[in-house]
Symmetry: C2
Subunit: 150 residues, 2 copies
Amino acid sequence: MDVTLATGSAWTDPACPVARTVDLIGDRWSLLIIRDAMDGATTFTEFHQRLGIARNILTDRLRKLVEHGILDKSAATNSRRHTYRLTEAGQDVFTTIVALRQWGERHAFAPDEPHSILVDDQGRELPELHPLGQDGAPLSAEASHVRKTA
Amino acid sequence: MDVTLATGSAWTDPACPVARTVDLIGDRWSLLIIRDAMDGATTFTEFHQRLGIARNILTDRLRKLVEHGILDKSAATNSRRHTYRLTEAGQDVFTTIVALRQWGERHAFAPDEPHSILVDDQGRELPELHPLGQDGAPLSAEASHVRKTA
DNA sequence: TCCAATAAGTTTCAAAATGCAACCTATTTG
DNA sequence: CAAATAGGTTGCATTTTGAAACTTATTGGA
């Protein structure tokens, strides 16, 4: 896993893990590429068709995601065709995708508006995800704060 | 809560809650503004100083976040000073911020690199957040898939 | 075997978003 | 009442994004 940004660029806020994550994957296309990779997309063309993204931008984002260790690009020998697969770090974005999805379900749809649903192997919808304290009780933003490291 | 995008613009992928969320708050500055709002920032100047963002961009992002029902802008009577506070929908982004933070802690720092820490009222670090299936066992991306609505 | 289609890009150019710096104009504060 | 502060706006340069056409290697089929 790569823990650096492109040469010449700098972290927006080097000490903050939220900011570093946003620098690495926090733009609309990268997050949607990761979403589709989790749902089975593996090739340039698949991503292009699912997302309706401009080809040059897709090229750029795939390259950066590979650079940052989120995707792995494997070229089938002597072929132009290759596949992109999530690395372990990429798979680990799952929690964030679920959080984004559930927020959207709660706040970005009118009550009667239909939307896609994330289900498990048995077709059951996922329970809501919420941060818990060490006592196991739900923890809110007000009940927590950021401690800066010296 | 608003559930629409600015006039003239359209959702990137209307049926997907992940995509809608990304359209609403999935750009670097919006997420960092929400992060800082959760950590106590309330005024234009505070956001500006903490983020080092250009003033015109900050103006634009605050306006959009208010429009989208993430922030609430309250003007103290006959004063230029006002405060921005998270709405309930804004508070609810907490789960996503925690997910982004924990991913960053796991994958965007070298083992010896220091970073800020999110702690509860007692100063204890938060447990890791992971999606669970209905049986209570951790659920991975491979064990789930998106079901489109007809 | 040859021809068309497919995959995965690259290039070019226009349009939109971002960023910096200077400016503005009410309110406070000393 | 003068200076500092808060919360912007404006103008302009740079960067990023996007649409569309072009490229180049494989492949699959007649």
